[in-house]
């Protein structure tokens, strides 16, 4: 496949729209920098380095080489014809980020930020992680580039995700369990910022998603936009036309921004973000930040967030730890406000139905995060009717989710349960409800934030 060559390396990181964000990191009323003054110098340094690097031929050549030789880019596009039989006749193309080294799109961003860390002369990186995918990707890049690496992870997650903790430690990273607040991803981010403000002279913060203070939302987007650049060229090459819609799951929103960006100027292409609806947005137990939240400030930027009447962050809920985040990247809030993208909520049960369906019809075990996008495609396909062409970002693979899925479907202890497409949805939901406490608690997902 040669399509990734359509954009020469020197253009890879050039913004699709100038002034988006503006020079101080604002997407309309969203974004910006809401951080202690002590971090401003480091954010300025990072911004300056990034702005210089993204037009530096040596940096871009090295980034391109790593993406090709190490990650395995370009990732292919696969038509999911048997899966699409359940989508009202629409055709569904999958962008296969699950086939990247380390198993998700996270590596795209991490390689860029790790290279940048080397260029600014810092020897240590820190990262936050929910269930481990961004932590594993960061530990991987740190090993590759000889950087010392510390990953902050909520204590609950380190216990539940012992496998990913072991992966990070095998790769040479130090994993620090975070015992404050709700002991989840949002607290891991707080703790990583505390480390950064203390050790900023030696340390770079490799942020995992398109949230946080400027320049992270723009920089992470630019490192992830390769997904959409490739996919747009691949779809044009094989179909001779653009898709009706591009779909991706949204936690913090990096894989979604990654695939949306190339299509933003294509007014006829609908951009659809699927948020984690948990038990249902009306139950209050969800992580659908744009669908069910309000604008505010969290983790350094203004964006939609889940908050109570006192401005306290509300804990989110999702079967997918990678989407289980009460905030969202500011560019998504902006795309929502200007009507360029639409955001919908997918419940745990709907996501798991799509998860099972893809396994049984295509022989692909998706990440539960990505299964939210698949569920959104089934619904949108039925709305659009026959001949609609949908592009879905399959942002990660589901090996990490096998235990969660086994519990959800009652596999392992009940051989007679068939999680295939023939299974009645209500029955699945009931199965889930029986063990839902454990299933949610045992979330084996990665950070698709």
């Amino acid at each position: 496949m040669t399509t990734s060559r359509l954009r020469p390396p020197e253009d890879r990181l050039v913004p699709v729209r100038p002034g988006w964000p503006d020079s101080t990191g604002h997407f309309g009323r969203f974004g910006g920098r809401f951080v202690p003054e002590a971090l401003i110098a480091a954010l300025d340094e990072l911004t300056e380095a990034y702005v210089a690097m993204r037009v530096d031929p040596a940096f871009l050549t090295e980034f391109d080489r790593l993406q090709r030789d190490y990650t395995g880019r370009p990732s292919p596009v696969t038509e999911a014809a048997r899966f699409a039989e359940h989508a009202g006749g629409a055709r569904i193309l999958l962008k296969r980020e699950d086939l990247n080294h380390t198993g998700s799109h996270k590596i795209n961003n991490v390689l860029g930020q790790a290279l940048l860390t080397q260029r600014i002369g810092k020897k240590r990186v820190i990262a936050e992680t929910g269930a481990g995918q961004h932590g594993v990707a960061t530990a991987t890049a740190a090993a590759l580039m000889g950087l010392s690496c510390t990953v902050y992870m909520g204590e609950e997650d380190t216990r539940r995700q012992a496998l990913n903790v072991a992966r990070m430690r095998l790769l040479g990273a130090e994993v620090i369990p975070v015992t404050t607040g709700s002991r989840t991803l949002k607290d891991a981010i707080n703790e990583a910022f505390r480390d950064w403000v203390t050790n900023v002279e030696t340390t770079n913060y490799v942020f995992g998603t398109v949230a946080g203070p400027h320049p992270f939302p723009a920089m992470v987007r630019d490192f992830q936009r390769v997904i959409g650049d490739e996919a747009r060229a691949q779809v044009l090459e094989r179909e001779g036309r653009l898709p009706e819609a591009v779909l991706a799951c949204v936690g913090g929103g990096s894989n979604a921004i990654g695939i949306f960006t190339a299509f933003v100027p294509d007014d006829g292409v609908r951009l659809v973000g699927l948020e984690a609806g948990g038990d249902g947005v009306d139950t209050g137990r969800h992580a659908a930040t744009i669908t069910g939240g309000t604008p505010g400030v969290l983790h350094g930027a203004r964006s939609y967030l889940l908050q109570d009447e006192n401005g306290q962050t509300i804990e989110s809920h999702s079967i997918s730890a990678g989407l289980d985040y009460p905030g969202v990247g500011p560019e998504h809030s902006y795309l929502h406000d200007i009507g360029r993208a639409e955001y919908r909520a997918v419940t745990d049960a709907e996501a798991m139905e799509a998860f099972a369906l893809l396994c049984r019809t295509e022989g692909i075990i998706p990440a539960i995060e990505s299964a939210h996008a698949l569920a959104g495609a089934l619904t949108l396909g039925r709305e659009l009717g026959p001949d609609a062409l949908l592009l879905v970002n399959l942002s990660g693979r589901g090996d990490k989710d096998v235990e969660t899925a086994s519990r959800w479907f009652g596999l392992g202890d009940r051989e007679d349960v068939d999680p295939g497409p023939g299974l009645d949805t209500d029955q699945q939901a009931t199965e889930g409800a029986v063990t839902s406490g454990d299933a949610v608690a045992a979330t084996g997902a990665g950070d698709e934030l």
Binding site: E37, R194, V197, G311
Partner: protein, 271 residues
């Protein structure tokens, strides 16, 4: 005139630095925190930082996190914070709200300014709001005649020291070290350098130092070069160690007395 500047002038007239304790509203309880603030005022605090407890206190170390976590879970809100402001005002010190930005934005910036002013508050310290993002707060605090305190740090460039101090009214908060709140065994040299750099660009603005001061000797050391000494984690530590509200208030009073003595010993640099 700025009420904070007035309080700092008064301390300076007595040839000493001002003592500024921080207490989060709602720890150990709402009445317990108010009693601790009042006890600190009675023992010599000039200004009290009335803390709005927030779920994601990114600039705070473990001690303050532990206390505000309790307060957040108890549902402490703006009404409690404003009641504490009134109590500090009645006790004879100048109350200034210390809050991360989101609770203020959620409450409504203009509404906050109006209600804070009505409650007798002097203004607000906003640790995660830089002047660059503060247009709405600058306007609202001007309108309500409130002070506004932004932070400077050892990593701040001279250009940022200038722009940040230009946006401040009352005093500027000099974060003495690169790091989060918490007691430290020694006060960093960086604090004195930062105060000197800040004074050089803003000679008419009071500079108060926070982060790391926990006892009378450290207060005296900082008082030798700063206009005010801010003490947070040490107060919260005293509250955490107390078995009940009454003991917490007594402990806050004892610590304030020790620190008040310290800021009176640290003379020499203010002339």
């Amino acid at each position: 005139m700025s009420r904070l500047a007035e309080a700092l002038d008064k301390a300076r007239a007595e040839d000493r630095a001002a003592l500024i304790p921080y207490v989060p509203v709602g720890y150990p309880s709402v009445p317990g925190s108010v009693a601790a603030m009042v006890a600190a005022v009675e023992a010599g605090a000039d200004v009290v930082e009335v803390g709005f407890p927030y779920s994601d206190p990114g600039m705070d170390g473990p001690v303050i996190q532990q206390a505000v976590d309790v307060a957040v879970r108890a549902g402490v809100g703006m009404r409690d914070v404003l009641a504490a402001v009134e109590a500090v005002d009645s006790a004879g010190a100048v109350p200034v709200v210390m809050s991360y930005w989101n609770p203020i934005e959620r409450y409504g910036v203009e509404r906050f300014a109006r209600d804070l002013s009505a409650a007798g508050g002097a203004g607000a310290i906003t640790p995660d709001l830089i002047p660059d993002e503060a247009a709405e707060w600058l306007a609202a605090s001007d309108e309500a005649g409130l002070d506004r305190v932004f932070l400077v740090a050892p990593s701040s460039t001279d250009a940022r020291l200038r722009s940040t101090t230009a946006a401040c009214r009352g005093f500027v908060y000099a974060a003495s070290t690169m790091g989060v709140t918490g007691t430290r065994t020694t006060v960093s040299d960086a604090a004195e350098r930062l105060v000197a750099r800040t004074r050089a660009v803003a000679p008419d603005l009071a500079v108060c130092v926070g982060l790391g001061v926990s006892n009378g000797d450290q207060a005296a050391e900082v008082a030798a070069f700063a206009d005010g000494v801010i003490v947070g984690s040490a107060f919260v530590r005293a509250l955490l160690d107390a078995p009940d509200d009454r003991a917490a208030a007594a402990a806050a009073g004892r610590l304030a007395a020790e620190l008040a003595d310290g800021v009176r010993r640290g003379t020499g640099a203010l002339a």
